[in-house]
Amino acid sequence: MADISIRKVAKSYGKTSVVEALDLDIHSGEFIVVLGPSGCGKSTLLRMIAGLEEISAGDIAIDGTIVNRLEPRERGCAMVFQNYALYPHMSVADNMGYALKVAGVAKAERLARIGRVAETLGLTALLDRRPAQLSGGQRQRVAMGRAMIREPKVFLFDEPLSNLDAKLRVQMRIEIRKLHNRLSATSIFVTHDQVEAMTLADRIVVMNAGKVEQIGTPLEIWHRPASRFVAGFVGMPPMNLLEATVETDTRVRLADGTPIDTPPLALRPGTPVVIGIRAEDVRVGAAVNDPGLVLAVDFVEQLGAAALVHGRFGGHDFVVTAPAALAEGAPEGLALGIDPPALHLFDAATGRRLATVNDAAALARPAVLAPTA
C-alpha cells in the first residue's frame, strides 16, 4: 500500500519532449489505468515511476518520500513487462525467487514463498521448466508471480496482456483485478486498450502526446469526456464527432446545413464547435416519412443482439447502433433522433469540453438509451 504523487513530471530526450509537466495523485490501494495511443508516453511515465528512466523535471513521491534519485530497488515497485522479460537461463522457480535470493532470504523460506505464489497462479507443475518451454499465458503468469513474490507496495504493468490471444486476455484481465483486490497494493496499469481500461480501472488516466487529457472513473470518462480526443478514443465504435456552428442558444448547424438542437449554450452565434454523440445514444427508426434527420446507410455490421449501421450524416461519416431487426435487409436510410441531453460539445479550436447544463445530470443518465422507432 502506498500513495504516489506525481508533480509536474516531464521527460525529454534532447529536444524531443515525451512527457510534459504531468500531475497525478494516486491513492493507496487504487487501481489506475493509464490509457492512450501508442507512442503517447505511457511506458515512459511508468518507467519513470519504477526508476528505470530518469525524470527531466518535477518530482515523484511514493508514500511521501521523493524518489527522484532513488535506485529502482529502493522504490518498492514491481513491474510486469510487456514482453515478460523472464530470465531465459533460469527455471520458473528461480525466476520467481530471484528477488528473494537477491534480498538474502533463506532458501527454505524462499521455496515456501515460491510454492505459495505458484499455487495462487496455478504454476506449481511448471516450476522446473525454463521460460522457453512455456506458453504465452504461462509466461505471463510467471511474470506476475515474479512481481507478486516480493509483496511490493506498487505494481506496475506495462501492457502485460497485449501479447496474449483475445480469450486469454479477458481471463488474465479478470485475474489481475482479483489479485489486486486481494493484495491491496497500488497498481498502475498501462494499456492502449480501452476495454482493459474500462474494466480494470478505479480511475483512468487518458494520455495523448505526452499530456494528460483526463483523469476520472471509467463512467466519468465515458459520460463526460473532457476533450474531443477522449471522446474519440474511448468507446467502441468511437463517438461520432461532427463539426458545427452555433446558431442560437439551443441550436447548432452542421457543415451541410442540418440543424441540431442542443442543450442551452452560452456561446456567441457563429462560434465553431464540435458536437459528439455515441452510436448507442442516437435514436433510430425505419420510417423516413418526415424531412427530419436521415442517415444515408453505407453498410451494416451485424453483432447479433444489435447492429452497427455505418453511413453519412451531416457531411460526416456516422455510425449508429440499431436493433438487429431494423438493420436487416440493408435499408437505404434510417431516421435519426438526437436528444439534446445525449450531446457532447467541444471547443473546435482547443478540443476541450464545453460545459452544458446537462453535464450535471449526465452521470445519472442510463448508459444505453433504448432505441425508439
Binding site: L52, P72, N83, A85, P88, H89, Y98, A99, V102, A132
Partner: protein
C-alpha cells in the same frame, strides 16, 4: 521461394569459381599435401631425392623432449594470453555497455590493434618492454634485475603474452560488446527491479547469457594463439631465452628453415594442423548448436 541466379550454360558457373579454386588449391591443398608427403619422408636439405620413412618422423618428434617443451610452452601461452585478452576485453565491454551504450567510436578504436601486423606490434612491444630503455626500465632501477626478458624465460613469456593479448583485447571486446548489447534491456531492468545492483546483474543475468560468445572466443583465441603468435615470438624473443618462448609454430619455422630439418618440421606442422582443425571442428559444431536462450 527466392529464385536463385541461374547460368545459361553449365560451365559459366564453374568458370566463375575457377580463380577461387586455383587459389585455394595453390595456397592450401597443394602445400598441405606436400607437408603430409614430406612428413612421411626424409628430405635432403639440398634437394636430390627423398626416402620414404612412414611414421618415423612423428615417432621421433613425439619422443623428443624439446618438442614436448614447445607443446607445453604453447599451451601455457594459449592459456594465459586467452585469459588475458578475454578478461580485459570483457571488462572493457562491460564498462562501455554501461556508460556508452551504442558508442561506435569505441568499437572502431578498440579493433585497431587487431589490424596491426604481428611483427610490427612485436617491434613496438620490444621497445616498450626493453629492460634497459623501455617503460619498464624504471622498475629495474628500483629492483635491479627484476625484469629482463632477454635472460629470464618467465619474463620473456610474459612479454610475448602481453603483446599477443594486446592485439586480441580489441577483437574480444567487440564480440563481447555486441553480445552484451544483444541482451534485451528489459532483462537487466527486471533484475534491477528485483533488487540486484549492477555487479549482481552482471553475474546473474548478463554473464550467463554471454556463454555462447565466451565459447566462440575461447576457440578463436586459442586457435589464433597457435598461429598468429609467430611474428610476435620471432621479433621479440626468437624463441629464447633458452627455448623459454619456443612455441610450436616457432619451432616449426626454426627446425625447418634454420635447422634445415624439413621432414621434422613438416611432421610438426601436420600435428599443429590437426590440432587447429580439431579446434575448428569443435567451433563449428558449437556454432551450429549454440546455446540459445529464447
Amino acid at each position: 521461394m527466392e529464385k536463385r541466379a541461374t547460368f545459361g550454360h553449365w560451365w559459366i558457373g564453374i568458370a566463375f569459381a575457377i580463380p577461387q579454386i586455383i587459389l585455394i588449391f595453390t595456397f592450401f591443398y597443394w602445400p598441405a599435401g606436400q607437408a603430409v608427403y614430406w612428413s612421411m619422408t626424409l628430405q635432403q636439405p639440398w634437394g636430390g631425392g627423398n626416402i620414404w620413412v612412414g611414421l618415423d618422423n612423428f615417432r621421433q618428434i613425439l619422443t623428443d623432449p624439446l618438442y614436448w617443451n614447445s607443446v607445453v610452452r604453447s599451451f601455457v601461452f594459449a592459456l594465459f594470453s586467452t585469459l588475458l585478452a578475454m578478461g580485459i576485453g570483457l571488462v572493457l565491454a562491460v564498462f562501455v555497455d554501461r556508460e556508452l551504450a551504442g558508442s561506435k567510436v569505441y568499437r572502431v578504436v578498440m579493433i585497431w590493434p587487431y589490424g596491426i601486423a604481428a611483427p610490427a606490434l612485436a617491434l613496438a612491444f620490444r621497445f616498450m618492454l626493453a629492460p634497459e630503455a623501455g617503460l619498464l626500465a624504471f622498475v629495474n632501477r628500483l629492483w635491479p634485475g627484476l625484469w629482463d626478458p632477454g635472460l629470464d624465460g618467465t619474463d620473456a613469456m610474459i612479454a610475448v603474452i602481453v603483446a599477443f593479448s594486446w592485439k586480441y583485447v580489441g577483437y574480444n571486446f567487440v564480440f563481447f560488446l555486441s553480445a552484451l548489447q544483444g541482451i534485451p534491456k528489459s532483462l537487466t531492468e527486471a533484475a534491477a527491479l528485483d533488487g540486484a545492483g549492477w555487479i549482481r546483474r552482471l553475474r546473474d543475468i548478463q554473464l550467463p547469457m554471454l556463454t555462447p560468445t565466451v565459447f566462440f572466443l575461447l576457440v578463436i583465441d586459442i586457435t589464433e594463439s597457435f598461429q598468429d603468435s609467430f611474428g610476435i615470438v620471432d621479433i621479440m624473443t626468437s624463441g629464447g631465452p633458452a627455448r623459454a618462448t619456443e612455441l610450436m609454430v616457432y619451432k616449426i619455422y626454426f627446425d625447418g628453415f634454420r635447422g634445415l630439418d624439413y621432414s621434422g618440421a613438416a611432421a610438426q606442422s601436420i600435428i599443429l594442423m590437426i590440432l587447429i582443425v580439431a579446434l575448428t571442428v569443435l567451433q563449428f559444431r558449437f556454432i551450429e548448436r549454440r546455446v540459445h536462450y529464447k
